[in-house]
């Protein structure tokens, strides 16, 4: 898929279907703060009953280790853990 010919609606459809590239593109849009990015907020209703867990802490505190353990704990069966990593820069 080329970058310039895909609209937000299409990106959201693809992201919901599991397309990682589309998900990455949407995250870029959210970061950009552009007006149309607000439409992406509609996706927040999509996960339904998914657990949403936030992990934060000082450098070296064990966030990555904790997340790895969480994924191992959640994984298996029909559950699909997704990690949204934010590295402020």
């Amino acid at each position: 898929m080329t970058r310039r010919d895909v609209g937000i609606d299409t990106l959201m459809e693809r992201a919901v279907a599991g397309d990682r590239r589309a998900t990455g593109r949407l995250l870029t849009l959210v970061e950009s703060g552009r007006d149309e990015a607000s439409a992406i907020a509609a996706l927040t209703h999509h996960p339904g009953r998914a657990h949403v867990v936030g992990v934060t802490g000082a450098p070296g505190a064990g966030k990555s280790t904790m997340v790895a353990k969480l994924v191992a704990g959640y994984g298996g069966g029909d559950r699909r853990p997704a990690i949204l990593a934010v590295d402020p820069s």
Partner: protein, 142 residues
């Protein structure tokens, strides 16, 4: 909301995002670290994947990070083998981002790499300005 202007996630002020990696067993990573700093200092977002990456790991990073370009550093004469493999992996994944190769590439191999689909080849003498300009040109030409 599918008009052409609304579909490009990058505003003109959004920085270029580059994935840098050492592909294969080549362990000479000093050059690419210097390049990472050059690009960062030019305002780009740099994701350095480190040593011993595979075409698959690089493709996955480009997809997940929504990168605009890939930079590979090659210092062990593997460029004629590995660059085309990387190009093929990116084509298979339908990634339309440019691949830039830096490092030790004999002059006589440059044309071969460009014909294989590499966007630009940078040698050890390239200045920070030349590196940044090559990246910007490759991303703009996509």
């Amino acid at each position: 909301m599918s008009e052409a202007t609304g579909s490009d996630p990058r505003s003109p002020t959004t920085p270029i995002r580059v994935v840098l990696a050492k592909l294969g067993l080549d362990g000479h990573d000093r050059g690419i670290k210097v390049v990472a700093r050059m690009l960062r200092d030019a305002g780009m977002e740099v994701i350095y994947l480190g040593l011993r990456q595979t075409p698959e790991s690089i493709v996955a990073a480009v997809e997940q990070e929504d990168a605009d370009a890939v930079g590979l550093s090659m210092h062990n004469a593997g460029h004629l083998t590995l660059a085309p493999v990387m190009i093929e992996a990116m084509r298979e994944a339908d990634l339309d981002v440019p691949l830039i190769v830096g490092g030790i590439v004999p002059d006589r191999d440059v044309e071969t790499l460009l014909e294989a689909g590499v966007a630009a080849v940078l040698g050890p003498g390239a200045s920070a300005g030349e590196v940044v300009e090559a990246l910007r040109r490759a991303v703009a030409a996509r």
